[in-house]
Point group: C2
Chain length 408, copies 2
C-alpha cells in the first residue's frame, strides 16, 4: 500500500466484497518505503543488528498500515478490526527476520467474521514461543495471507500486486506474452523459483501444502469494478487439473539473469567427490542451483554448477581455499556471462519431444547450450546471457504461446 | 529521542549506568515527530478515527524506537532486550488513546535484569483485558517510566527531558530563576497542575501514589559525564521532608496564561445553584479550575469561575443555552485577558503571612487581583494578563528566590 489514497482504494475494494456478502480477512503489507526506512535506521545504528530487535522494529510498518486500513474501512461504513500477528496469534519459529509460520489460531478472527466484521491482520509477522515478535522476511505478507486463508478454510486467497496476473513470460521481453487465466500449482512453483517475481516462492509452497487456491489480481484497477469482472481478471493458481486448465503443453517461459557458472577441472572421479565439493559451499550458506557432472575421462572429470551471480566471489573463495586443495582438482573456471531459460508446463509430463523442440529451437537461432537440467514439468538450459531475450522470444513462439493458446 | 544520533547518545548514557553496576530499565518515547506523523495519517483517513485503531497505529512509534535503542545498546557492547507494553505486560483499562495503567507484571523484566541485561520497554502504551493495544495519551512515556519503576521497586526513576530540572519559575521570564536541587512531591504536583510543563501531571500523581523518587535530568548533556556529576544536576522529586530539602517557604512561582474567567451576574442565591451552573459545564467535558461565589446581596450573587481559554466559547454556549435559562441568571460576563499566578511551597503550611506577602507585593506593583484561591501549599491569583511577567518577577524576588535560596 503506497499512500493514504492507496489505503482508501483498498478499503473501497474490500467494502465491495463485503457488501456482496463475503466474509473478508485482509492482510496488508506496510506502506511502500516504510520497511526500507525502518531497516535503514537499524543499519545506521548497527552494522550487525540483532534479529530479534530488527523484527521488533520492522513489524511496526504492517501494524501501522493495518490500523490505517481498519480506519479506512470504518470510514467506508464497514465494521472492521485490525490485529497484529501476536494478537491472532500467528505462531512462528524463532528464526528472526526469516521466521516460518507454524500455526495460526483462527478462533478470534472467526468470531469477528461471524459478527459481520472485516478483519485486518498484519502481514509479514508473527510471534514465537517466547512471546517475541518475528517477521517472515521480504515478501512475507503474501505468505501470511495464504497461511491465514489456510487456517480459516477460505474459499480463495486473492493476492493484489502491481501486476495483473501470471504471464506466459515477461511482457517486457516478449510483447506477445499473454496472461494465463489458470495455472497449476506445480507450474507456479517452478515459475516462482525460476525468477518470476509475481509471488514469493514460500507463499506458493504454503498454498501447495494447504491446497489454498490463490488468485493473483492487480491492485491498480478501479476498486469498484463489478465483482464478476474482477474475478475474470488475474490468474488463478489451482490444484484441479481439469478441463478448466488451458491444455497447452508448455505454460510459460521463465528466465533468470542472476546466474553464474562454476566448473572444476580435473576432478578425481572418486565416490563422495560431489559432496566434497558442494558440502563446503552449502556450509557457507551459498545456494547451488543446477549441477552437472560429466563422464570421466582418464580418471578425472568436469564438475559444473550454477550459483546466484551475487555469490560467485564467495563461492570461488570457498573452492580455492577449501575444496581445490582437499580434492586436488586442477583448476576452477567461472563464467558470469550466463543466464538460465526454462520452459514450464504440466503438459510436459505426458508429451514426448518437448525438450527436443526446445533444443531444436535454440539451435536454429545459433544459441549454444552450456548446461541442461530437467524435472518432470520443466526443462532449463544455461546459455550465454547475450542470447537471453532471443531465446525467450523464440521459445515463446515455438511453443505456441504467442497470441491464443495452442491446444495440445 | 530525535534522531539516530540521539538514540546512540541515550545508549551511551545507559551503558555508563550499566557499567557502574546499576540494573537499568529504559522507557523511550517515540522518535520526535513520529507520533504526529502517524496520527496525521490516521486523520487523513478518518475525521473521527476509532480509538482502538488509533492506538494500534500510534503504538508503533515507541515500538520502533525501543528496538532501535536496544540495537544501539548492543552496539555499545551492552546486552539488551526490548519489550512492547503487551509483552511485559503493562495492563491498562480500555480507555483507548488515554488509557490508565492498572498493573505491571515485572517478572519477565526482572529475570532479564538478573541475567545482566538492560531492558527497554516501550513508553506510552499497554494492553487491555481484550489483548488490544492501548496508549496512555500525550506525555504517557513519563507515566510509563514511573509506573515501571514502581512495579520493579526501583531506587529512582530518572526522567531525561529537554530541560535540566525544575526551576523556581520560568527562566525565560525571570532570568534569576534557579534550578531546585530537591522539590517535594506535593510542590511538584502543584507546579505541574499549574502549567509547569516539565513533567506530565499523571506521571507525578503516579510517583506520589507509589512513592517513586523521580529525578528530572537533561537529555542534552554529554552522555559520558561522570555519574556523581550527573546526579548533582537535575531536580529530585522526593517524599522525604527532611534536612535535605531547601527550607524556603515558597519553592516556586507557577503561572498559566491559558485562562479565561466567566462570571454569572444575578444568580439566585438558592441551594444547589453551584451544581446547576457547573453540572452542565462538566457534562460538556470542560474542566473548571478556580471557583468563587460571592456573598449574596438582595437574594442574588455573583458566581465566577475560570476555564482553559480554548474552551471559553464552548463554556459560554453551554451557559447561554442551558444554564442561564434554567437558573434565571441575569447575564454572563467573560474575560479572556486574564492569567493565573501561583506561589507554591510546602513551607506555607507552617508559616503565616505568606499569602499576605503575596498580596502586598502585587499591590505595590499596582496589580489588581481578580480572584484568589488557596490550598495548603499554594496560593493562586487571577490577574490581568498584561501584568503576568511583572507579577512573576516581583513575587520571585519578594519570596527570596532570586540568587541563593533564602532560609526560613
Amino acid at each position: 500500500m503506497g499512500s493514504v489514497e492507496r489505503i482508501k482504494n483498498v478499503a473501497r475494494r474490500v467494502a465491495k466484497w463485503h457488501a456482496a456478502g463475503h466474509k473478508v480477512v485482509v492482510v496488508p503489507s506496510a506502506m511502500s518505503g516504510e520497511t526500507n526506512r525502518l531497516l535503514g535506521l537499524a543499519r545506521e545504528i548497527s552494522a550487525m543488528p540483532d534479529g530479534r530487535e530488527l523484527d521488533m522494529i520492522a513489524a511496526t510498518g504492517e501494524q501501522a498500515s493495518s490500523g490505517l486500513l481498519a480506519l479506512a474501512l470504518q470510514a467506508e461504513g464497514v465494521a472492521a478490526r485490525s490485529y497484529a500477528g501476536w494478537q491472532v496469534p500467528v505462531r512462528t519459529d524463532s528464526a528472526y527476520t526469516k521466521a516460518r509460520i507454524q500455526e495460526i489460531d483462527g478462533t478470534r478472527v472467526q468470531a469477528d467474521l461471524d459478527a459481520g466484521r472485516v478483519v485486518v491482520i498484519t502481514g509479514f509477522q508473527g510471534v514465537d514461543d517466547n512471546g517475541y515478535i518475528t517477521t517472515l522476511g521480504r515478501g512475507g505478507s503474501d505468505t501470511s495471507a495464504v497461511a491465514v486463508a489456510a487456517a480459516l478454510g477460505a474459499d480463495e486467497c486473492l493476492i493484489y500486486t502491481d501486476v495483473d496476473g501470471v504471464y506466459t513470460t515477461d511482457p517486457r521481453i516478449v510483447p506477445e506474452a499473454r496472461r494465463l487465466n489458470v495455472v497449476s500449482f506445480e507450474e507456479m512453483l517452478e515459475m516462482a523459483s525460476l525468477g518470476s517475481k509475481v509471488l514469493q516462492i514460500r507463499s506458493v509452497e504454503f498454498a501447495g501444502k494447504y491446497r489454498v487456491p490463490v488468485r493473483v489480481l492487480s491492485s491498480l484497477t478501479d476498486p469498484l469494478i463489478p465483482l464478476d469482472e474482477e474475478m475474470r481478471s488475474g490468474t488463478l493458481i489451482t490444484f484441479e487439473e481439469d478441463e478448466k486448465m488451458e491444455s497447452a503443453v508448455v505454460s510459460g517461459i521463465a528466465f533468470s539473469r542472476d546466474e553464474a557458472k562454476i566448473t572444476l577441472v580435473g576432478v578425481p572421479d572418486t565416490p563422495g567427490v560431489a559432496s566434497a565439493i558442494l558440502g563446503p559451499v552449502a556450509a557457507a550458506g551459498i545456494d547451488v542451483d543446477m549441477i552437472i557432472q560429466n563422464q570421466s575421462v582418464e580418471g578425472t572429470t568436469l564438475f559444473s554448477f550454477t550459483v546466484n551471480r551475487n555469490e560467485l566471489l564467495r563461492a570461488r573463495q570457498v573452492l580455492d581455499t577449501q575444496v581445490v586443495p582437499a580434492i586436488k582438482a586442477r583448476e576452477v573456471l567461472t563464467d558470469e556471462k550466463v543466464c538460465k531459460v526454462s520452459i514450464v508446463g504440466i503438459g510436459m509430463r505426458s508429451h514426448v519431444g518437448v525438450a527436443a523442440l526446445m533444443f531444436e529451437t535454440l539451435a536454429k537461432e545459433g544459441i549454444n547450450i552450456r548446461m541442461i537440467s530437467t524435472s518432470e514439468i520443466k526443462t532449463s538450459v544455461v546459455i550465454e546471457d547475450k542470447y537471453m531475450e532471443l531465446a525467450v522470444r523464440s521459445l515463446h513462439k515455438a511453443f505456441g504461446l504467442d497470441g491464443e493458446p495452442k491446444l495440445a
